[in-house]
């Protein structure tokens, strides 16, 4: 399922174009009111753009403007939408809500129930299966809405801030579940959280003021953000490699020690080590001491950032104070050691 | 209500709805003869009217379509003087203007092919129809027993029914949509209309004057034009 979208919605000041390859997950980042939800509504068929096309695997689902007038109804698109507002059906209990999707696609009752119960289990909702939505907490409600959207098993999945109301304790587990769900599914995930983008998405677009201001592979956008919003939330160091002997080993043989985010990757599995530039200390010679990672680099640039300077070298960034730059004489061409503590580095498996 | 209306100038007449046309005309005459007096009518089914009078309706005169209803008034001591019969009415066959079933006599109504509507035996015109059928020795199998003459007329004039039994005055009032067929036996079943001033009358003498007008020759002329017979045409068993 490859997805292609161009849409302009005049009264919301939205005019976007993007595409998602087959099996790819696209993260959409952007400030409030940027047009993220609008974009999903257009894809889901809930909103008719003034002009625009939604093409799924070559089939035009929406094609309006300039005399064209194709609008495949939402229920025929097989595009699932988890909206920002859970909107659970108030007259059905939790299980009834989750069974709704499969039942609507004529899945036999018993089978639909099995599907629902599996999702309820995965999202730790089994105990709540007989409750009415009015008897749930905010976070529980959001998880039920997610279960409902997933149980419908759409060909394209649109998730609008799937974890906004969730507590920090359940997020890692849920992220894990979503990784599995999204693994080989065409999907668009709206999020305010870089970590979600990093872990769930192959590519990222950043929407600001209704237009796409930045797009590209997740790692690229997050390491070298060009738009204001992305810069504000991203700018991470990412080192890709394989997991060997309890460390990440790059193709060049560099080893980065860090803490696996969730389950440790299997030996040899592709993984990525993530740490913020602020976690990187710069020395002229290796200092010893507790930090486990020391990378020899030649400095390539020193750029001012809000409140500090960003020093780049060897594909990595370090944020340091101007005073340090002065004291150490950091400048392009200078050889230095970037030091990062292992506890500052998170390692994620990359499927 | 009451004082504000300057009641001395208003005469309120409760009359059976079949009297609408002639009484409205008589009201005009009465006003002409009594300058400053306004005659107001409340037309409804006789039994409705009597029920209202029993609950204190402010009427001066009551004209009923049958004796039985008037009896309820007298039984409650609401009639100021003995009711006077002032008109009679007899039955007629009514058919649509084009008479699709080709009805010519009462006997033709016996056919089950003919869709006949009559009044229900509980209401005066129905009771009369029943007696008429008995007198003439015919058996009627109506498709509907209506509550009011107007309902019978509506069915016939719309062509829904092939024939009905109603009063002469009703056929007269219905105009061109229907045709009346006189029934020779009708003379033996006559309905009498009585009238009486009501005890609650604001101005009993004015009320009596209206009753007098109705039974006067002038009044009788108006009633006769509407198809009513004279009160003394009573024969047979209607008393």
């Amino acid at each position: 399922m490859s997805l292609e979208l161009t849409a302009s919605v005049g009264d919301r000041g939205v005019d976007v174009a993007l595409e998602v390859a087959d099996g790819e997950t696209l993260a959409v980042l952007g400030p409030n009111g940027a047009g993220k939800s609008t974009l999903l509504d257009v894809v889901a068929g809930l909103l008719r753009p003034d002009r625009g096309r939604v093409v799924l695997d070559g089939r035009a689902l929406t094609d309006v403007g300039d005399g064209r007038d194709v609008m495949v109804p939402a229920y025929e698109r097989s595009v699932g939408l988890l909206a920002q507002d859970p909107l659970l059906f108030p007259h059905l209990d939790v299980r009834g809500n989750v069974t709704f999707g499969p039942r609507s696609r004529r899945t036999p009752r018993r089978e639909a129930r099995a599907v629902a119960d599996r999702w309820l289990g995965d999202l730790e909702l089994t105990d709540l299966a007989d409750r009415r939505p009015a008897q749930l907490s905010g976070g529980q409600r959001q998880r039920v809405a997610l279960a409902r959207a997933l149980a419908a098993d759409p060909r394209v999945l649109l998730l609008d801030e799937p974890m906004a109301a969730l507590d920090v304790a359940v997020r890692p587990a849920l992220r894990q579940t979503l990784r599995h769900v999204l693994a080989d599914r065409t999907a668009v995930v709206v999020t305010h959280d870089v970590l979600d983008a990093l872990l769930l998405a192959d590519r990222v677009v950043v929407v600001e003021g209704g237009v796409v201001v930045e797009r590209g592979p997740t790692t690229e956008v997050l390491t070298q953000p060009r738009s204001g919003f992305a810069a504000e939330i991203a700018g991470l160091n990412l080192v890709s490699g394989a997991w060997r002997d309890d460390a990440l080993e790059t193709e060049e043989g560099l080893r980065i020690v860090g803490e696996p985010a969730e389950a440790a990757p299997a030996p040899g599995e592709a993984a990525v080590a993530v740490f913020p530039p602020s976690a990187v200390s710069v020395f002229l010679t290796a200092p010893g001491g507790s930090p486990r990672n020391a990378v020899d680099v030649t400095i390539t640039s020193v750029e001012p950032q809000a409140g500090h300077l960003r020093v780049r070298g060897g594909g990595l960034s370090a944020d340091v104070t101007p005073r340090s730059v002065a004291e150490l004489g950091l400048a392009p061409g200078v050889r230095a050691v970037f030091v990062v503590k292992a506890t500052e580095v998170t390692v994620y498996p990359r499927s | 209500s009451g004082a504000a209306d300057d009641p001395g100038d208003v005469l309120t007449v409760y009359a059976a709805s079949s009297l609408t046309a002639p009484f409205t005309e008589l009201g005009g005459q009465f006003e002409a003869e009594h300058p400053g007096v306004t005659v107001r009518f409340s037309f409804a089914g006789s039994s409705d009217l009597v029920a209202q009078l029993q609950e204190g309706a402010p009427a001066d005169v009551f004209a009923s379509a049958d004796q039985a209803t008037m009896d309820k008034l007298t039984a409650d001591d609401l009639a100021a003087s003995a009711p006077v019969p002032f008109a009679t009415n007899t039955l007629e066959i009514v058919v649509p203007a084009d008479n699709p079933a080709g009805i010519r006599s009462l006997a033709d109504l016996e056919s089950t092919e003919v869709r006949l509507v009559v009044c229900a035996p509980e209401v005066p015109c129905g009771a009369a129809a029943q007696r008429l059928a008995e007198r003439a020795g015919v058996t009627l199998t109506p498709v509907s027993e209506e509550q009011k003459v107007t309902d019978v007329l509506a069915k016939v004039s719309s062509g829904e029914a092939d024939a009905g039994l109603v009063y002469v005055t009703d056929v007269r009032a219905a105009g061109d949509a229907v045709r009346g067929i006189e029934v020779p036996e009708a003379g033996s079943v006559v309905n009498v209309y009585p009238i009486a001033p009501v005890t609650t009358a604001v101005d009993p003498s004015l009320a009596q004057e209206f009753v007098d007008l109705v039974v006067s020759d002038a009044g009788q002329r108006v009633l006769s034009r509407a198809g009513f017979g004279p009160p003394d045409a009573t024969s047979g068993d209607s008393g």
Partner: protein, 263 residues
């Protein structure tokens, strides 16, 4: 720019019964219009009796609709928002005028407000005589129309729920403010529906009126009574006159509909 939100619409097959229903309601109206003696329409309309009746009908139906609102909105609120056991019974009882044949309703009113009625004597002492006055017409119309307002408003209130009312309370709004600024605006479509129903029912009311209020021109003879009376002597004219009633209703409902879809 028009609303770009795409209409989800309704299942297409539903148009069939909907059109059938519309046809079932509209055809008889067409039939009436087709048979109306239009030549006499003007004369009918301008006759003193018709004008008195129309004017009286409009006045009384408006008055009784207002009375229905004053009494019915509180009743619907109490029924929808309180949770006493007894309310079930009260609800059933309050809705009874719905099924009572209107004439019986009129009799019941006579038994209550008439001279020999439950309250009649008390009222007579006070010098109030309701029956057979224009006030009686209003009472009769209110009696039959009230349950329509109550039932449909109660349904709307239950559908709307109480969540916004709770929010308003936490913002410091007293119940009266909540009612005026939250509850009623939220159920406006239901309130408009209910008011239209009540007005329509009051405007068309016949049986209870003739029984309780009588039929005096200019005083208690509303348009339906006039139509009924005219039918005795002039069936076609009666039907034509009822079209006047229909036109009035179209205007009222049309205007109400406008207001509602403007929301």
């Amino acid at each position: 720019m028009s609303d770009p939100r795409s209409r989800l619409g309704v299942p297409r097959w539903i148009l069939l019964p909907a059109l059938l229903g519309a046809g079932f309601v509209l055809l008889p109206l067409v039939a009436i219009v087709a048979r109306t003696p239009w030549g006499r329409f003007g004369e009918l309309l301008t006759s003193q009796a018709s004008q008195d009746a129309l004017w009286l009908s409009l006045r009384t139906a408006t008055a009784s609709t207002l009375l229905c609102l004053v009494l019915g909105v509180p009743m619907a609120l109490v029924l929808a928002r309180s949770s006493y056991r007894l309310l079930g019974v009260v609800r059933s009882l309050v809705l009874l005028p719905l099924v009572l044949p209107p004439v019986v309703g009129g009799i019941a009113l006579l038994y209550t407000f008439g001279r020999r009625g439950l309250l009649g004597q008390t009222m007579e002492v006070l010098g109030i005589q309701v029956a057979f006055s224009t006030a009686a017409v209003v009472l009769a119309q209110t009696f039959v129309a009230l349950p329509f307002l109550v039932v449909s408003l109660e349904g709307a209130l239950r559908t709307a729920g109480e969540r916004y009312e709770a929010v308003a309370a936490t913002l410091g709004a007293r119940p009266t403010t909540v009612l005026r600024r939250v509850t009623l605006p939220l159920v406006l479509p239901g309130l408009v529906s209910g008011t239209v129903l009540a007005f329509a029912r009051a405007l068309g009311e016949f049986g209870a009126t003739i029984t309780f209020a009588g039929s005096l021109q200019g005083r208690t003879r509303t348009l339906p009574l006039e139509i009924y009376l005219r039918r005795e002597t002039d069936a076609e004219g009666a039907v034509a006159l009822s079209l006047v009633l229909v036109v009035v209703a179209v205007l009222v409902i049309g205007v109400a509909g406008q207001r509602r879809s403007a929301l």
